[in-house]
């Protein structure tokens, strides 16, 4: 008896609850254009959500000076971002702009049911369709047009994403962005100017002309780069509309703390590159630690370099040298050229340093150390023989210009030299970079070697002299001090 009563009460409560639910005012979904993402639903319970999406066929730049007629969900590529909660009932309205040439529909991968809504949303130009679905599964899902020929509708940009939040919502982050890759096929070559039509054969051959984030080259570059600040947690909703290519999504200089692979419920940690299938997604999260520019690429890297698959995140804030130092060394690497084949360890530079510290540095030691340093840095241009390269790099051997002024040669080694000089009666006009990254005693040893080799005879250069010149002369901007 009591059991019956309990069941009756439960049924009554259930009826009451569903009545209340049905009467609750439907919520109008907030839709955003990439890279913006709608705010979290913030709801503790499912609701009825109304989504209104308009299909528009529009001509927009695909690259600078190159236009393409995109077919879009909402006027841009990718289409509007939709954000709902698991358990929501979505009343979906799809309108097709009266100016459209084509009929269109929508297949949402978040829909459980035949065609993902495609058959119920098939809409002629100037018409409107409506269907409803219940969001049974949480996750980040692609939606796309599925009208024949489907490849062409997708290749023209007809895709976007719908996020179905789990009941508990997503963890709090500081920034969320919407990034979606797609491949495009034009009759003209990459960056060939003008209005470029769709190339059916290239699409069938999967030979993409462009591979792009957010529908145009430069959509997320320059002033449109994605901003973030040091210390912030960033979440990217990354999708791949295809139609053909699978993305090797990577952010240069970041490690993804978490990747919800394929837009599902489980995450992998510490990921460098995540694979995003055509018609698939990933949720990527990381904390930005160091200021600077972070390119987002398809690490199938020719696409980034030659087809436009490049976006940028710009991180502002204070440096953190403990995590990243910036450049600590910049010098010519000679490979096997400098030391010669299978060399004995060269201790000449260390010996010179030790003698200098002990206050009894000999000319021979300076010359030996200077030779090693010269061969490591200077001989690339001036050649190991000191003869330079005729008409390009001036000789040091028997050089009137070098030997005429010792302190001038110190200043040139430190600060570089640009412009015309006359050496042994021959005019040279090229550029020597500043070598101010070398220490005072290294420059002293090099110049001492040069002034006593290749037929030159001169007095030694001391580290103290170099130090004085360094303190009293100017170096080009960007050179080490």
């Amino acid at each position: 008896m009591n059991q019956f009563k309990a069941v009756a009460v439960a049924v009554a409560v259930g009826l009451w609850a569903s009545t209340v639910h049905a009467q609750a005012k439907p919520i109008q979904a907030v839709l955003t254009d990439a890279p913006a993402v709608p705010p979290p639903t913030g709801r503790k319970a499912p609701a009825k959500v109304v989504v209104e999406l308009v299909v528009k066929e529009v001509t927009l730049p695909i690259s600078e000076g190159v236009n393409y007629t995109f077919w879009t969900f909402g006027g841009k590529v990718p289409g509007k971002f939709i954000r709902i909660r698991q358990g929501d009932t979505v009343e979906f309205h799809l309108a097709n702009d009266p100016g459209s040439k084509m009929p269109h529909n929508i297949d949402l991968h978040a829909v459980t049911g035949p065609g993902g809504g495609a058959a119920s949303s098939f809409t002629a130009p100037g018409q409107r369709s409506q269907f409803s679905f219940k969001a049974l599964n949480a996750g980040l899902y692609v939606y796309h047009c599925a009208t024949a020929p489907v490849g062409m509708h997708v290749a023209n940009g007809m895709y976007g994403m719908i996020l179905v939040e789990p009941p508990e919502g997503l963890s709090k982050v500081d920034r969320e962005y919407y990034v979606m890759q797609g491949d495009f096929y034009t009759v003209g070559k990459y960056r060939e100017k003008g209005l470029q039509p769709f190339d059916m054969q290239k699409a069938i051959d999967e030979n993409a002309t462009y591979v792009l984030f957010n529908g145009s080259e430069g959509a997320l570059l320059g002033d449109n780069a994605l901003p973030a600040k040091v210390g912030e947690k960033v979440r990217l909703f990354v999708g791949n509309g295809g139609p053909n290519l699978v993305s090797s999504f990577h952010v240069i200089g970041e490690i993804f703390d978490r990747v919800y692979t394929e837009g599902g419920s489980k995450f992998q940690e510490n990921v460098q590159t995540t694979l995003i299938p055509a018609g698939g997604t990933a949720i990527v999260e990381y904390k930005v630690e160091i200021p600077g520019s972070y390119p987002l690429v398809d690490h199938s890297i020719f696409r980034a370099f030659n087809k436009g698959a490049l976006a940028m995140m710009t991180v502002a804030g204070p440096d953190n040298k403990a995590i990243y130092s910036g450049k600590e060394l910049d010098e010519v690497y000679m490979g096997d050229r400098a030391p010669g084949p299978s060399p004995a360890p060269d201790r000449s530079v260390a010996r010179a340093a030790a003698e200098l510290a002990g206050g009894k540095l000999t000319l021979e030691t300076q010359i030996a150390a200077g030779k090693t340093l010269f061969n490591g840095t200077c001989s690339v241009c001036h050649q190991p023989t000191g003869l330079g390269i005729p008409m390009v790099f001036p000789p040091l051997a028997k050089s009137d210009f070098l030997m005429a002024d010792k302190l001038r040669s110190v200043a040139i080694a430190l600060n570089g030299l640009q412009g015309e000089v006359v050496v042994n009666g021959v005019k040279y006009n090229s550029v020597m970079p500043p070598m101010s990254n070398l220490t005072d005693d290294a420059i002293a040893n090099i110049l001492t070697y040069v002034r006593n080799s290749f037929g030159n005879v001169g007095e030694a250069v001391t580290a103290v002299e170099v130090s004085k010149v360094r303190a009293t002369s100017a170096r080009p901007a960007g050179a080490a001090h």
């Binding site: 009929p103 098939f122 002629a124 100037g126 009208t147 024949a148 020929p149 489907v150 039509p197 059916m200």
Partner: protein
């Protein structure tokens, strides 16, 4: 005799030319035995029906005026680009009639003692470019069609009959506007609508290619997709029509 009287009211009706006989291979054959349809010769309007011709029709048959037509025969958009029910206004008499439903198109043709072309007839006529009767495998022709299909409608449609006719002597089958056919719902809907099968879902997305014969004839796919998005009372800004007639003169 009656027919002639009827025709005389249509000073603006387009000339017709003979098309066919010929063979049409449907992309989605209705049955395995119907991969090739042999069509007898028929007459087809050289150009789409114009605003001017339609004005004469709605004047003669006022039940088809936009303010009198039943909604089941034409939706609210019917002739929306005209200034008034009998006043095309900005709509040029030589521009193709548009915003017309299938019912309107059918009634217009019947009034002229003609009919709408079948999908097979229309496709046979439209397979020709300027020189070949069947140019569907000619890349330049295919590219031209795809380029037109990819562009949104222009703000103002050109007049009918511009440019070179195709090899049958027909104008504007491509590049001006879509056209109604008699059996526009044929391809996507099964022959027996009571068989309880999903009538159209199989044609979407990848499934659409499963039983298609010419997988790279994208223009044909696009026309089929367009036609199957229609209902008989729809009126659309880039959809017009032209009429056909059997060679014997007997209407279908």
């Amino acid at each position: 005799m009656l027919l002639l009287v009827g025709l005389s009211a249509f000073a603006e009706q387009p000339a017709m030319v003979k098309v066919g006989p010929g063979v049409y291979r449907p992309i989605y054959p209705a049955a395995a035995s119907q991969t090739e349809l042999t069509l007898p010769g028929f007459l087809l309007d050289v150009t789409p029906v114009t605003n001017g011709a339609l004005l004469a029709f709605v004047t003669a048959q006022p039940q088809w005026r936009r303010d009198r037509v039943k909604r089941v025969f034409a939706d609210r958009g019917y002739l929306q680009h005209w200034e008034g029910p009998l006043k095309p206004g900005e709509a040029d008499p030589d521009q193709p009639a548009r915003f017309v439903s299938w019912f309107v198109a059918r009634a217009y043709c019947a009034h002229r003692g003609a009919r709408l072309p079948t999908e097979a007839e229309w496709e046979l006529a439209a397979a020709a470019d300027e020189t070949e009767l069947d140019a569907r495998r000619t890349p330049a022709f295919r590219d031209r069609l795809l380029a037109w299909y990819a562009q949104p409608n222009p703000a103002r449609l050109p007049k009918v009959g511009a440019g070179k006719p195709n090899a049958w002597g027909l104008h504007d089958l491509h590049g001006l506007l879509w056209e109604w056919v008699l059996d526009f719902g044929n391809t996507m809907i099964s022959s027996d609508s009571r068989d309880g099968k999903d009538p159209s879902g199989r044609r979407f997305c990848g499934a659409g290619a499963a039983n298609a014969s010419e997988k790279d004839d994208y223009p044909s796919f696009m026309r089929i997709a367009f036609r199957s998005s229609l209902e008989g009372n729809y009126t659309i800004g880039n959809l017009g029509f032209r009429c056909a007639r059997d060679l014997s003169g007997v209407t279908r």
